[in-house]
Structures are given as C-alpha cells and as structure tokens.
Symmetry: C2
Subunit: 437 residues, 2 copies
C-alpha cells in the first residue's frame, strides 16, 4: 500500500484522555477513533491488526475441532427469560424495544442462543462432542468504559460452546480449549497465564482466566514464579484425552489465581515463590454442566435411548482487547513494536527523497518486487521530511524498515533495520531476499 | 471437512413459513435459522458462502482504490441530529437508550460517521479523492421482514463513501464504484442491471440501483431488452476517467428504471424493446454532493487556501441479501446450484459404503489428496444410505460430486458429476487431476 493513497491519520500529541499506553498508541498510530464512550471506529491500520488477531484465533479454534457459525448481535429477550438471565444480567446488558414493542437485547454473550441452535441440529449422543464458535461483536454497557479497547462497550469476541454426553467428555472439551488458548496467545507473542477464576454471570463450577501480566492491568493476580516461563505446547496431542489432562494438571500444579479465587493454603505452600502482579484478562473458559441445557429444555437421545441434557462449557477470547494487551506488552518510547504474526504490514519502505529520480525508481522497484513476492509493504512515498517518516515508521511499529536514500542508491545499497534494532547497509538484492524469506 | 464432524442440519420438509425459494433452500440446506423476526443465525455452511461473497465484494472494492475501515454498530444519536436524519429516518431506525440515558442507535447506514472520521484524518484537497468502505452488520427495523435474508432486519452490508474536491472528481468516483459493482456481481454469476433509482432517505440527485431480475423480486422494473445480455467490463481502465464515463454513458443509453423513476418519454422511445419484470435490488450507488459535509461542518483546504466542503457519494451492497439473490437465480427442483466462485465447498465426496474397507480407504485417500492440493472438499463419511447422501449433495448444491462405490473401486474407477449434469466414470487419478485443476 502506498501511504500517499492510504488513510493513516497519525497524531503528534498524546491525547489527554487516554490513560494507558496501548490506548495512547492506538490513537496516535491512527488505528482507532472513539465515536462514543467505549465505542471505537477501526481505521485501516487498526482493522488490519484486528483481522490478523482474529485469524490466529480462528485457526486455533478450527484446529481444536470447533466449527464456526455466526449469531446475530440482536437477540430476543425471550431466550434470556427462559434461562433466568434476563433479570440477573443487570445494567450491563443493552436492552432494546423494537417497533413492535418486543423486548430485544444486544448480545453480551450467547449461551442461550447456542444451546437452542445446537438442539435444532442435534438429536443423538452419536453427534457429540460438538463445539460451535463465532467471532462476533458484543456489547456490554460498562458503567465506566476506559483504557481504549481494553474495556470498551462494543468489542469483538470469540465465543465457543461445547456439548458433551458425560463429564469425562466435557472435561476433555475444556482441556482442548485450554490448550488451544495457550497456543493462540503464544502465536501472538503473548505470555498468558491460566488462573483459577470466578465464574460470574456465566455460572458453573470450574473456570480459568488467561491473564497477560501488565502493570496497567485491572486485575490483581497471584502466581507461582514458575509461571513466568513460557510452556511448550507443540508436542501435545489434543486428541489424546489422558495425555492432555496430565499436561494441564501438571501446569496447574503451580499456583495461579485471580483475586476472587485466592487460596491461603496454596499460597502458604507456594511460599517465597509466590508472586503478585496486575494482569489483563484476554480469555476465559468455563465449565457449567447442564445449567443451560436443563433451563432451555435441551436434550439428546442417550446410548440407552433415554434423553440426556448435554454438559456444556463456554470459552471466550477478547479479540479486540488482545490488541491492547499486545501493545501493553510490546512497545517502547517511540511507539508500537508489533510481533511478526500480527503486524499490519511486514515492511515500512521509506523513500527519503521522492523528488530524486533514482530514489523514486529504486523505491518503486522494491515496492513492486516485494509486493509480487507476497510481502506486505507499506510504502511511504509521501513528500515529507525523512525525520517525519522515521517517526511514523517507529510509531506504527512495523517489524522492518527499509530505507532508500540518494547516497545509498548511488552506491547500490539501502538500509535495512529491524524495529528497535540497528540499521544495516545491504545491497538491494540482499534486502529483497531477506524480506521475502 | 468430514460431514460426520460437521454441523449441517438439513431439513427434509420445506418449512411452511418460507415463501420464496431462496428462503426455503437456505433453511433446508442448513445454512441459516431464524432466531427472531427478520433475524438469522448463520450455520457453518451459510457462513462459508457469506464469507466468499464478502471476499469478492472486498477484492473489487480494494481494486477500485477504496480503503477498508470498520465502524461500530452502535452509534450516538448526536451525529444523526446534526444531519437532521435522527427524526427523518422514521421507525426503521432501531433506537436505544443506554444505562446513562444517552440516545444511541443501531446503524442502518453510516454517512454521518464516515463524514466525521474522514474529517478527522483529512486536512487538504491533496489527500483527495478518498473512498472509505466497511463491511459491517446493519439493522433496519422493517415493519414486515420476510423472504429470509432478502428482507431481514439484521443484515450484512458493504457501504462505501467517497469524498472529492469537485464534481468531475465525484463523478469519476461514482463511475469507479459503478464499474466495480458490475464486476462484483458478474464474478458471482449474477447479471445485475443498473437502473435509475430514487434516492430515498440518503438524499441526493443521482442514483442507480443494481437489480437482479427474478420473479420473486419486490421491485417492478422497466428496461430495454439490450440489458438482457451481459456486458464485458474486463477491458475498461477505471483510472481513465474519460473512457470510463463514455463506457457507462454508452450502457445507460439503453433505458432501465425502477418503478419510482419511470420516464414515459424514454419508454415511448424504447418502443417494442421495452421489457417489464420483477427484480431484487443487490446494490445502490448515490451521489449527493455536499449534503452531509455541509451539515456536519466538514471541509478541507482547497487549492487556493479556501475551505471547501467535499462532494460525496455513498455506495451500498447487500452482502447477505446477495446470497438469497444468487439462489433465486441458480437452483433446480433438487436444491441449490452454487456458482463456483461462491460455493461453500467445491466437491461433495460421497462414500456410498462406509462399512466397505476398500471404499473407505479409497475415499479417505481422495479426501487427503484433494485437501492437500487445496481443493475444498466436504466428505460425506456418514453411515447413511446412498440415496440420502445424493439428496443432501443435490440440496446443498456443491459444483462437483465425486462418488466412491464398491463396484467402481474394484474396477479402479469413481463417478464424477457436475451438479445438475451427467455422471461419468473416471479413474481415481483422472478425478483428482480434474478437480485439482
């Protein structure tokens, strides 16, 4: 993409109302604009990152055997009355009356609707296990939305719902999502720690929150220092229920809990290894048995012909929130430092002198060649000073900067720099080869 | 995808409340389920087609130089009061009061918000032309939602907004979208006729609706019979404003108008060539000058330093509605016939005897080989009778059926059939080669 034709409204000043660094940088880097309290428009650069995060989430859900569907944002209140949550959910639910005076709502989560859709297409235990997910906008009418996309009102969420015949199956479905979450966050360069957590308005008796440690986090968290290392999940076969369970039990032997789930005995045992920090919740998994299937009157025919209410879990990831968490974890004084997997473009190609024919020809050539090789390039072809171009490139945080200047071009070289690293003079050919690899 | 692990709840009976064939087939083929009046859940098969349609729309918008952004669904009423549309829009707008008693709404279109976002990132005429688009869920509280996704309340729409300095530029932006629309619909196998149309609540003085002819359409349309042939747009250079204008003027020399825009003089001139039909609107383009930029106080610095209100157009495509229109245009007694470009999978691989080892081995092998070659295969590995499998394959309408049976496998052959065409016996190698091509 040529920057001269793009829509990238960067800001020089840090907006006064943005308290945390991710919010500041997303505004400054022209990724989002607030359109109402806790509600954001996604500008082209922000949307590209959002889609990359979304695709990683999707790939790991698919890999875990979940099947993608899409529910409407606006739901009838009827279903929620059936489960008893219409009254229980409180003022965070955005309630709506339509033109025919029917009670509707903007979905804050979707246990009820998934349960009904599941029933509509499932008659027998033979069709279990089943795990359906969606990536869809949700709305929660937070009393004090803040910190940009970290606590917005309209946000993009992945929510999955598993249905199993018995507890062993449901536990395996839970574990599958557990490991899928570890893989999902790791692919984005995040170290997320699963912590015993409260179940809140979803209900149930088993839940983990996946927490990214950050001083700006809203949650107080407590954990064994072993959690500060990452865990390699690549060798785990998620189809092997026993091995998966042992791996996860092994992980969970090290204490980790949110504020609401602290356990004094376990903390005493952890002793000096106990650490305290702030964290950002990026995902949560729940097991709640037949809470919703019973309430909604949902059943399948069991092996002995008797109707059984399937056991459920639900599994959320805050897709738009993840962008804030990634920036909180990966930035410096000059701007964002995108992990490769979620960078909006791989390369910032900077032409320092658009009025110099040799520079323009070289930069145009590099742009054409890299683009043809499938490399995502943002080409700064604007008539601006070099200083402004470098500042923009640092701010938006693309992994590579490729700089074309008049002196270098005469010598047949360009400058290649990893964001945050050192500049290096290389031949045009070497630069192309390195970036296309 | 193995059908045994998929979620494809097909219906044998035609649901009584579905009046048009596309609605009936989308329900029967397990693509959608109604969750409230005019509101649908997208099941896996429906979602796949929706994403394919969406991607074609996106590619043609990108090719036309439009830049993708994403606006929130929930907007503040303030902006709409500024443009005067908050009262004018009427009961189709879903109005919402949030917990702090602020007036909000679910966006039915987004001229106001795009105008504000444009201003936020644009200061000078040098940054024009600019065209921003989104593909996002909209809500219009139709008094009588019907015909499934053809007239739903929550629907997926592509909406683009162009900003130009002068009329010549704005006209070129309009023409660019005009040709992009012709290309978009043609890629989906649709023959959509652009017709002079009323501007409705968007306003302005120039508008075309793109109409697919169908007996189930809600609009009465009138056109010169020349429009019944398609038009080749492949050679048009959309960057050449003059050539593009001449091409479109040439097209529009043949009369075509919706009911509200009939022109008795032009119809008299068309004479015997005048045809009347019903049609489904799949897109609409508008030019409305400075209606919104003036109302919202938006301007850029002009070439002479004086502030100018940019001239705008807006351009909608009913992405979810297109699925209904495609099915209306392409089905038979047995079910849907998907055009290749939007088919959810390319091949229905049918194993007629899952209990036969040779059949299972051959079908598994074909599935592995085709999938590895990047072919999208839906593999019917269920323990069902052949008749049921054929009926499902015809109903869901994948372009190819590849049938593995015990007799054929002994002879080293499988049956290959184009949906709606004849069966043909071919070797396994030939089948793989044909489908991978």
């Amino acid at each position: 993409m040529r920057l001269s034709r793009y829509f990238l409204p960067v800001l020089k000043e840090t907006p006064g109302d943005a308290q945390v660094v991710s919010h500041q940088l997303m505004l400054r880097a022209g990724m989002i604009r607030q359109t109402a309290a806790g509600i954001y428009a996604w500008l082209p650069m922000g949307l590209r990152v959002l889609r990359k995060i979304e695709n990683i989430v999707r790939e790991e859900q698919d890999r875990a055997g979940a099947i993608e569907v899409l529910m409407p944002t606006i739901q009838s209140a009827e279903l929620w009355k059936q489960s008893g949550r219409y009254e229980a959910y409180g003022p965070e639910m955005l309630r709506i009356i339509d033109r025919h005076d029917r009670e509707m709502l903007f979905s804050p989560t979707a246990e009820e609707l998934f349960t009904v859709i599941f029933q509509n297409g499932t008659k027998s235990y033979r069709e279990l296990p089943r795990n359906l997910y969606q990536i869809q906008w949700k709305f929660r009418d937070e009393v004090r939305p803040r910190f940009g996309v970290l606590r917005g009102r309209e946000f993009l969420m992945k929510d999955a719902y598993s249905f199993d015949l018995d507890f062993a199956g449901a536990r395996h479905s839970y574990n599958r999502m557990f490991i899928a979450y570890m893989r999902t966050f790791a692919r984005m360069g995040l170290h997320a720690i699963p912590m015993r957590a409260d179940t809140g308005p979803i209900g149930g008796d088993l839940s983990h929150e996946f927490i990214v440690l950050a001083p700006t986090g809203e949650s107080d968290v407590f954990y064994h220092r072993n959690w500060e290392q990452g865990h390699d999940t690549s060798a785990i076969d998620a189809d092997d229920a026993g091995a998966l369970e042992r791996f996860i039990d092994g992980l969970n032997a090290d204490y980790a809990a949110t504020d609401e789930k602290r356990d004094p005995a376990a903390e005493a045992e952890t002793g000096d290894a106990l650490k305290q920090s702030k964290g950002i919740e990026v995902g949560q998994v729940f097991y709640f048995g037949d809470k919703y299937t019973r309430a909604m009157g949902v059943s399948v025919q069991g092996p002995d012909g008797v109707a059984v209410a399937p056991l459920m879990g639900s599994y959320g990831i805050g897709v738009s929130r993840l962008m804030g968490a990634i920036i909180e974890a990966s930035h410096d004084e000059a701007g964002i430092i995108w992990p490769d997997a979620v960078a909006p473009y791989k390369v910032a190609l900077i032409n320092l002198r658009v009025d110099d024919e040799a520079c323009a020809a070289a930069a145009d050539g590099l742009y054409a060649q890299l683009t043809a090789a499938g490399v995502e390039v943002l080409y700064d072809d604007r008539d601006e000073r070099g200083g402004a171009k470098f500042a923009t490139a640092d701010l938006i945080g693309l992994p590579w900067q490729l700089v074309v200047g008049p002196k270098g071009i005469k010598a047949g070289v360009v400058e290649l720099k990893r964001r945050g690293g050192e500049r290096e003079e290389v031949s045009i050919e070497a630069a192309t080869a390195r970036l296309s690899a």
